[in-house]
């Protein structure tokens, strides 16, 4: 309710424009319960094409659960998730990738015993056709497809400059943390998504790397025409690049609006300040994770 207030009261112009564009992703009244615990409660969210939208909130607010619901790891207990007007209900994660949603992970989940290039090739899995027999007999079409796939993978790595292209045959575990984040994005891009979900894309990065990440996230939208939904803890990062920000607290959406509106929203301030000790603990946690 409060979110609607924010939207209607303070951004009439944006709302008018927005209502003309159809939502790419829409969450309608989505709830997820685990046993007696309600992780996500009646969340509405609209992401329009070529928007960068952030989901923020204190630890345990249900942000990653929302991502897991969108990508099909969990099925909503109630409510509906739509991509370009079509319900994603009942689709398995791999089918949702086919619909055009891919993601990265908070704690990078690359395939460590594969090379940089191979990781990106796995990302292209749905876009390739080779079956077992064709692969075994290496038919001409399979060989040609494999060649195209490699070229495409290099092109995607090239999005991040020449450094990753040069290291294409290295195992990903030998890469720096920031480079691994880049490879993970390249892998997610490989499936030709319409919507890219980034789960804390700058976690564990230093300031320079964070600034660079902000730059390439913007380029993902501006150059590749992607729509981006991201979870982010560094408020400065989200404030600077988001078209709008949804704030979750205890599984509920307590605010949704332009960065400046959210920043001064009383409930948001209360949610963050009220549990500052926790936020701090979480920072320590992620710092420990990096180490």
């Amino acid at each position: 309710m409060s979110s609607e207030e924010v939207r209607t009261s303070s951004q009439p112009a944006a709302a008018a424009v927005a209502s003309k564009t159809e939502a790419l992703l829409e969450l309608r009244n989505v709830t997820k319960t685990f046993g007696g615990l309600t992780a996500v409660s009646k969340v509405d969210l609209i992401v329009r094409p070529r928007e960068i939208v952030s989901v923020i909130g204190p630890n345990g607010a249900g942000k990653t659960t929302v991502f897991n619901l969108i990508t099909g790891i969990y099925e909503p207990s109630s409510g509906e998730i739509l991509l370009a007007g079509r319900s994603l209900a009942g689709l398995s994660p791999d089918k949702i990738v086919l619909q055009g949603i891919t993601r990265t992970f908070q704690n990078i989940r690359l395939f460590n015993n594969m090379t940089v290039l191979e990781n990106v090739l796995v990302g292209q899995h749905t876009r390739l056709k080779a079956g077992v027999l064709g692969s075994l007999f290496r038919t001409r079409s399979v060989v040609a497809e494999e060649k195209r796939a490699r070229e495409r993978a290099l092109e995607l790595l090239g999005f991040f400059g020449t450094a990753l292209v040069a290291r294409q045959d290295e195992y990903v575990m030998n890469l720096s943390y920031a480079d691994r984040r880049r490879v993970e994005i390249a892998r997610a891009l490989a499936a030709d998504p319409k919507l890219l979900l980034l789960d804390e894309p700058t976690a564990g990065m230093n300031e320079v790397e964070t600034l660079e990440a902000v730059k390439y996230i913007r380029r993902l939208r501006d150059e590749l025409g992607l729509t981006i939904l991201l979870i982010e803890h560094k408020l400065a990062v989200t404030m600077g690049m988001s078209d709008h920000i949804a704030v979750l607290d205890y599984g509920q959406k307590i605010a949704d609006g332009l960065p400046d509106e959210v920043r001064y929203d009383e409930r948001v301030i209360a949610a963050y300040l009220g549990r500052q000790s926790e936020t701090k603990a979480e920072d320590d946690e992620s710092a420990a994770e990096e180490a």
């Binding site: 990738v97 692969s135 494999e146």
Partner: protein
């Protein structure tokens, strides 16, 4: 010296068969961390299917062919493909019925389920061919003189077929879309699914190929050895499993080398004279192999080619 060289070749050929069976254990373990106890019994049924197909074509142990002909070669090829496909489909069915429903259950559940399937398959074998030894067809293939050694051609044939199959598998796994998906699922099933990989399909393909290789192994076993019975696969399976553990379970190259090493040991142990071990080495080969298994587990639990993989997140 000639005896030694001969045992070496026999050992390699036997080892190649173990390697093919070991690949099935290691592939399944790699992808769903299950020791597929039914795998050896799939191999047994492969030997039975080989006999059944050949006898349908009129090639029986009672009436063995006297000369090699192209007709006979094509009949053998048919038996090999038939055994491969039968075992492959059986493997997929077993996964679908007995393992997939238990995929998220505690790990002991699918293990017990696998033992159950193993017992069921043994009984199927017993119903089919009875509780006795069943002879394979002996082929009119002679031997060739290679330097100082007189080698049975069949050993060379077994080695060649096994190497072709293993090379094919290696290419499939390292160079193709399906192989990449298999490795991805083996490493992080959820992340693979979120990259668009159909996990159930890929696990099915893994069972298809792993069990199919056991079928092919059953066919070449039938060329090299005199007979089979319903319990054969259980015993051979244990040895092949040892080979997989020796190489590092989950590691394909490890299973191949593990199989060859076990085959060589199995064969060379025969050289130990009766003065050293009562009744000679031949009576001890299984004991030696399992002693090796224990030693590996104590001193190198991750196997020769295995790495200590970090805990999954």
């Amino acid at each position: 010296m000639a005896t030694f060289l001969n045992l070496l070749i026999v050992g390699l050929a036997t080892g190649a068969i173990y390697a093919l069976i070991a690949l099935g254990y290691t592939m399944v373990y790699g992808i769903i961390e299950l020791i597929n106890f039914a795998h050896g019994d799939i191999f047994t049924l492969g030997t039975f299917v080989t006999i059944a197909i050949l006898s349908m074509l009129g090639v029986t142990a009672a009436n063995p062919p006297s000369t090699m002909s192209w007709v006979l070669v094509s009949e053998l090829a048919l038996a090999c493909i038939g055994s491969f496909l039968f075992c492959a489909v059986l493997g997929v069915l077993i996964e679908r019925v007995a393992y997939r429903p238990l995929r998220n259950a505690p790990r002991l559940a699918p293990l017990i389920s696998a033992i159950g399937v193993s017992l069921v398959l043994q009984d199927v074998g017993k119903l089919w061919f009875g509780n006795t030894n069943v002879s394979f067809v002996s082929l009119p293939i002679g031997s060739v003189q290679m330097g100082p050694v007189n080698v049975d051609v069949i050993n060379i044939f077994v080695l060649v077929v096994a190497i072709i199959l293993m090379a094919g598998l290696q290419l499939l796994v390292t160079r193709t879309r399906i192989g990449r998906a298999m490795r991805a699922v083996a490493q992080d099933r959820d992340a693979a699914a979120l990259m668009g990989v159909n996990v159930n399909l890929i696990i099915g393909v893994t069972f298809f190929i792993g069990a199919g290789l056991a079928g092919a192994a059953a066919f070449i076993y039938s060329l090299k050895f005199p007979n089979t019975y319903f319990y054969l696969g259980f015993e051979q399976g244990l040895i092949a499993f040892t080979a997989a553990v020796l190489g590092g379970i989950g590691n394909l190259v490890g299973a191949m080398f593990g199989g060859l090493i076990i085959g060589l040991i199995y064969s060379l142990v025969t050289l130990i004279p009766a003065t050293v071990l009562p009744h000679g080495g031949n009576a001890w080969n299984k004991a030696v192999i399992f002693a090796i298994l224990i030693l590996i587990l104590v001193f190198r639990p991750s196997g020769l080619f295995g790495q200590n993989t970090p805990e999954k997140v």
